[in-house]
Amino acid sequence: MAGADSDDSLYPIAVLIDELRNEDVQLRLNSIKKLSTIALALGVERTRTELLPFLTDTIYDEDEVLLALAEQLGNFTMLVGGPEYVHCLLPPLESLATVEETVVRDKAVESLRKISHEHSPVDLEVHFEPLVKRLASGDWFTSRTSACGLFSVCYPRVSSTVKAEIRQHFRTLCSDDTPMVRRAAASKLGEFAKVLELEYVKSDIISLFTALASDEQDSVRLLAVEAGVSIATLLPQEDLEALVMPTLRQAAEDKSWRVRYMVADKFSDLQKAVGPEITKNDLVPAFQNLLKDCEAEVRAAAANKVKEFCENLPEDSRETIIMTHILPCVKELVSDTNQHVKSALASVIMGLSTILGKDNTIEHLLPLFLAQLKDECPEVRLNIISNLDCVNEVIGIRQLSQSLLPAIVELAEDAKWRVRLAIIEYMPLLAGQLGVEFFDEKLNSLCMAWLVDHVYAIREAATCNLMKLVEKFGAEWAQNTIVPKVLGMANDPNYLHRMTTLFCINALSEVCGQEITTKHMLPVVFKMSNDQVANVRFNVAKSLQKIGPVLDSNCLQTEVKPVLEKLASDQDMDVKYFAQEAITIVFCSE
């Protein structure tokens, strides 16, 4: 391909190659993203001998360019001549694996892991494994952290002597001087354990795990927790107690709240890994302690896991454990001093009702739900309301509706607009569960009040909410309850409210259908085309464009077109613009 006389196809490639070193980052990035095109044009030989050496030294570039390069090289095997030559990709990836930017390094490691599978067993020992060793014994911690992620991919495919070396290297990195490398080793410990023979898991990995879990750095110890979970899944049940549990128990009581937080955060995985017996004997008391932890962050993390933990308890003793051990702690959390803890609990507590059944829910959980519905923190109330569906299935929402209403009303009128916004989003769900009667009686007026909120985001959400309600309750309901009120606002002295009418029409026309739109909405829109405020007029144009598809063609031609044409000759520039745009889209698109 290369070398053809004055080949036109060379020109775009030449541009790409030149732009590899353009001053503009965006152009360099574009070129790097089309690296495969360049390589294809150069052919495998020149890619290996010229392009790759150049790229190996291009480590001074911006992170985003390096990131793209690291990613490209992971898919480059065929472009350098197939698996036989895949090792040519190692030098550039090796230098990328030592840069200071974590995302670039991680991507380089990811690509190295990918191409490791394309190495033949011989190449793996001749080329890949030496690279891992070089990185593992590099001067800078960046290269050593990168090495941690490569052991597990080459270990299964090398001879037993090399395996022994790899284990040794991993051991060394686990006791590295710098916390960064120990952190990298701790985070890859579980993955490495998975590819090791069971005897080495028991001999090597356990001692490394124990050492990392008692590291002086909090940040290392907390990563060991996750490794502990992975290791636990690998060991036979009878070894767990002796090899892993002492360390995990210690982690659950660590002096540092960050480590305990990690235990709480990984609790469900841990529970699955150790099985029902250890769960009953060890994890239940540990979980109780975490729910009562002195640090709020830990309690919140544990509270988040309450439902999952209860769900995964062994069936034979589930109810007893929940009722005697977990529920008392949960009751305390309902009146916790920290609002994050309460809101974490509120986001899962409703889920307990399906596990405990109707009677227990009414007797024990309902008082808690009601207490949380009256909580001073809006987020707690919102989380309860957003999860109402789980309770609805078990005891029906009527049990709650008495307390629900004041809670909803209060949230609907909260001083913070983000809170109001959040409750609006749950309205369709609530409406569906409470039924149309209850809704009309109690909630409809709230939904209409939001339409005239002084915050635009609320008005916008309120129009969208109306659309969803109509989807639920049907067009006839809309015609009787919503449409008259919406159209009434067209006469409001405040032009923002008049515009809300238009926005509502935009949202409602499709769900309400042609008849209601033509009969009731369209006349109002037409009337508003004479509004004195230009913003209203150009929104009329936008509305007509929007509801055009709902109307029949006769109406479009005879009624809509004249109005739009009139607006197109409006004295206001914007009105003209949007009217012309509407005409183009409604009448010329076919």
Partner: protein
């Protein structure tokens, strides 16, 4: 090996460098190969130590400019109608992670992470133009050319890597990198925030002493530092002369300290200025992590972490100023924030004074010395002479009277090489580097 007392006397000048503006911070990196200074104009100047060369063995130890860059620019906060000065308040080096060097620099509001790296190759060879930049006729291109990297003159580049902003309402007085090499903290008058070095859009507040009602404010945070080895421990000092040690393991918010260091006030010494001069201007952990050093207006104190009731050692920096506090108050000098540093083995401490004097105290022999950083006194390889300030009427030869001290020449910022007897002293816009006399 203990430092000989000789060091306190016989030191020679290695470098006197004039900065463009008043130097506001000085800091060696962890190996001592590099020294960074920040100035009032927002610039950072990095000096590199001359490598050992066979031809000129005596040149070892000299520091030359390695890189200069503009770290911060003056800004304007439109919401609060406040000017934000570009002055660099603190510089902290990060542990070295690859061939490049990294440092954090901060002004009143924004912390920045800078990378200082070398480049010695550049790409050559274009397809569409020749090396002089002349565009080639596209039709003449018959083969593709891949650029090649060729050696070039060494170029040192400083690039901003991260900007940690919008987290401080008050002025940042300290930054400190944690021994986990993953986090650092930034401290302003009322709050301390914890950052991850890789995350710029989120920080955690770990100390907040702002009272609900600002009229109840009686105390501000003046400095803070992480323990050199224990990742969970940090201290912060206050304008009331106390130091609080906090344990981050105990809870996410460290409003409750685990240790409280304070010396009971001597009622006989009480005066209008007591509170002002007891305000701590700097706090530093010893390299061993066992001791704390604090600087207040007149003294440097060394505290044992295991004894909260009183300092282990107290050194008078310029006690002769006690009688002049009134005029020092009037010219605002009493609010000067002097810093203090340890030597590599924690046996000697150094801090600044007025009249371009700086003080060193040998903790083992209890001897101390006053030296002067000035252009006349520090000709290359000249040996510094100890200075003496006389208080009484009779002034001996070589002594200087308290009344003739120049209070506009103050040494606020100093730094000590992490393992050798090399010190850097910033005297307004002059940087002096001194080394002990080797032979």
């Amino acid at each position: 090996e203990r430092y000989k007392i000789d060091f306190l006397v016989y030191i020679k000048a290695l470098l006197c460098s004039v900065a463009a503006d008043i130097i506001s911070t000085v800091e060696f990196n962890s190996t001592g190969e590099l020294l960074a200074t920040g100035d009032k104009g927002g610039r950072v100047v990095v000096f590199q130590r001359e490598q050992e060369s066979k031809n000129q063995p005596h040149r070892r130890g000299e520091y030359n400019v390695y890189s200069t860059f503009q770290s911060h620019e003056p800004e304007f906060d439109y919401l609060k109608s406040l000017e934000i000065e570009e002055k660099i308040n603190k510089i902290r080096w990060l542990p070295q992670q690859n061939a490049a060097y990294f440092l954090l620099s901060t002004n009143d509001k924004t912390v920045k992470l800078w990378k200082i790296s070398e480049r010695d190759k550049r790409p050559e060879g274009y397809n569409l133009k020749d090396e002089d930049g002349r565009i080639r006729d596209p039709t003449t291109i018959t083969a593709l050319q891949v650029p090649v990297l060729r050696p070039m003159d060494l170029m040192v580049e400083a690039t901003p890597r991260r900007v940690f902003s919008n987290a401080h309402t008050y002025h940042i007085n300290s930054i400190s990198v944690n021994s986990d090499y993953e986090t650092f903290m930034s401290t302003d008058d009322l709050r301390i925030n914890l950052w991850n070095l890789e995350i710029t859009n989120r920080s955690f507040n770990i100390v907040d002493i702002k009272p609900v009602n600002m009229e109840e404010l009686t105390e501000v945070i003046t400095a803070a530092e992480f323990h050199p080895h224990q990742c969970n421990t940090f201290v912060y000092s206050s304008s009331k002369g106390s130091i609080r040690l906090c344990d981050m393991r105990a809870s996410a918010l460290c409003d409750n300290h685990s240790k409280f260091f304070e010396e009971p006030e001597d009622p006989s010494n009480r005066s209008f200025f007591s509170e002002i001069i007891s305000s701590i201007s700097d706090v530093k952990f010893s390299h061993s992590g066992r001791y704390l050093m604090t600087r207040d207006y007149l003294t440097v104190k060394v505290w044992d972490l295991n004894m909260e009731s009183k300092p282990l050692e107290t050194y008078q920096v310029h006690d002769y100023l006690r009688s002049k506090l009134c005029s020092l108050y009037e010219n605002d000098c009493i609010f000067d924030k002097f810093e203090c540093v340890w030597n590599g083995s924690d046996s000697v401490i150094m801090t600044g004074s007025y009249n371009n004097f700086f003080r060193m105290f040998d903790r083992n022999t209890k001897r101390d010395v006053t030296l002067e950083a000035s252009r006349e006194n520090s000709k290359p390889r000249a040996i510094l002479k100890p200075r003496k300030v006389c208080v009484g009427g009779k002034r001996r030869k070589d002594e200087i009277s308290v009344d003739s001290l120049d209070f506009s020449k103050k040494i606020l910022h100093t730094a000590w090489h992490p393992s050798e007897n090399i010190i850097a002293v910033a005297a307004t816009n002059n940087l002096y580097i001194f080394q002990d006399k080797v032979n």
